[in-house]
Amino acid sequence: MEQTITLQVQRYIPEQYPEPYFQSYEVPLRKKWVILDALNYIKDEIDGTLTYRWSCRMGVCGSCGMMVNDRPALTCATFLEEYAPGPVRITPLDYFGIIRDLVVNTDDFMGKLKRAQPWLITDEAKPLSEGAYKQTPQEKAEYEQYSMCINCMLCYSACPVVGLEPDFVGPAAIALAQRYNYDSRDEGEDQRNEELTGEGGIYSCTLVGECSEVCPKAVDPAGAIQRYKATGAVEWWQSVLMPWKGKS
């Protein structure tokens, strides 16, 4: 007989039950199956009401993040076998509001992303006739690591400060701010600093480092935040000791 493993999945169906509860499903323990395959098996073969997000099933879209045995993980990149003999607990990402079953509300995260202004900001747009904004491979390497972020939000669920301080802008947003701060074509650093060196910004981080541990794309948001803190400190001392220099 085929070996099986039990998945304890957190359900939340607000129009039927006011509180989340757990439901157990027995699924085949197949080699090469990831957690997402097991969830898809449940949905297709056992219980079509189970709700969760996924899209690419190859670690690119960032939508399949869940807590697997209380640790944030991309379910399409986490092998089921690692959890044998089970049971495996699947719950929605920590610190987010739950919409239904394993689907969390991303509104708060979207707002935080916006605070980081992760897009190219230039003082004056170059007219088309002047051609493209050129960049050397070295200049690209400066920010490339931070550009790998897929907005999976695992780092938010891993960060205790996110849980304690609702205003904290959070790891990915700061890493993405650095993605643009270190881009040779960008001129938006002052704008971002203003938002991110204040309340709920980079200094709320206490360097727990879990964000970098769970990041599936090796973005190292913790490192990005530390670098940002140092930049912010230099700026602060400059504004105090050399106020005449002002903002560039």
């Binding site: 605070r115 205790p160 400060v161 304690l164 301080e165 203003e194 938002e195 991110l196 060196t197 204040g198 309340e199 709920g200 910004g201 200094y203 206490t206 803190k229 140092a230 912010g232 400190a233 700026e235 602060w236 001392w237 105090v240």
Partner: protein, 117 residues
């Protein structure tokens, strides 16, 4: 929604400097005075020579900087320990006065000691 100007970069600078200094230098002090000399691996310097070392202006400055920055490192870390560990963020202003005030008091006492020693 621009955030208000914050003094966190200032406290963080003291925290970072204090952390770096104490992490590198305090183990050396502990190893020398706490382990190597009591165990007889090194000859004890003797009261007179140690005193003249400490009386040297550079040593005075060194001790002042080391002690003061270490205190500010403690203050910042303890502030966040109280916030996050004990969930006391709502007492923010009292905690800041207690932590940084404590470090400042320690700094003043250190200053008096290294000057009058």
């Amino acid at each position: 929604m621009a955030a208000k100007k914050h003094n966190d970069p200032f406290w963080w600078t003291l925290f970072g400097a204090g952390g770096t200094l104490s992490a590198f230098l305090l183990p050396v002090h502990v190893a020398l005075i706490g382990i190597a000399i009591p165990l007889g691996w090194l000859e004890a310097p003797g009261y007179e020579s140690l005193r003249s070392l400490v009386e040297h202006p550079i040593t005075r400055i060194y001790l002042f900087v080391l002690i003061s920055l270490s205190l500010f490192h403690w203050a910042h870390r303890f502030r966040y320990t109280l916030y996050d560990g004990l969930m006391l963020k709502h007492l923010e202003s009292y905690i800041m006065v207690f932590c940084y005030g404590g470090a400042l008091a320690g700094t003043i006492i250190t200053a008096i000691l290294v000057i009058t020693f």
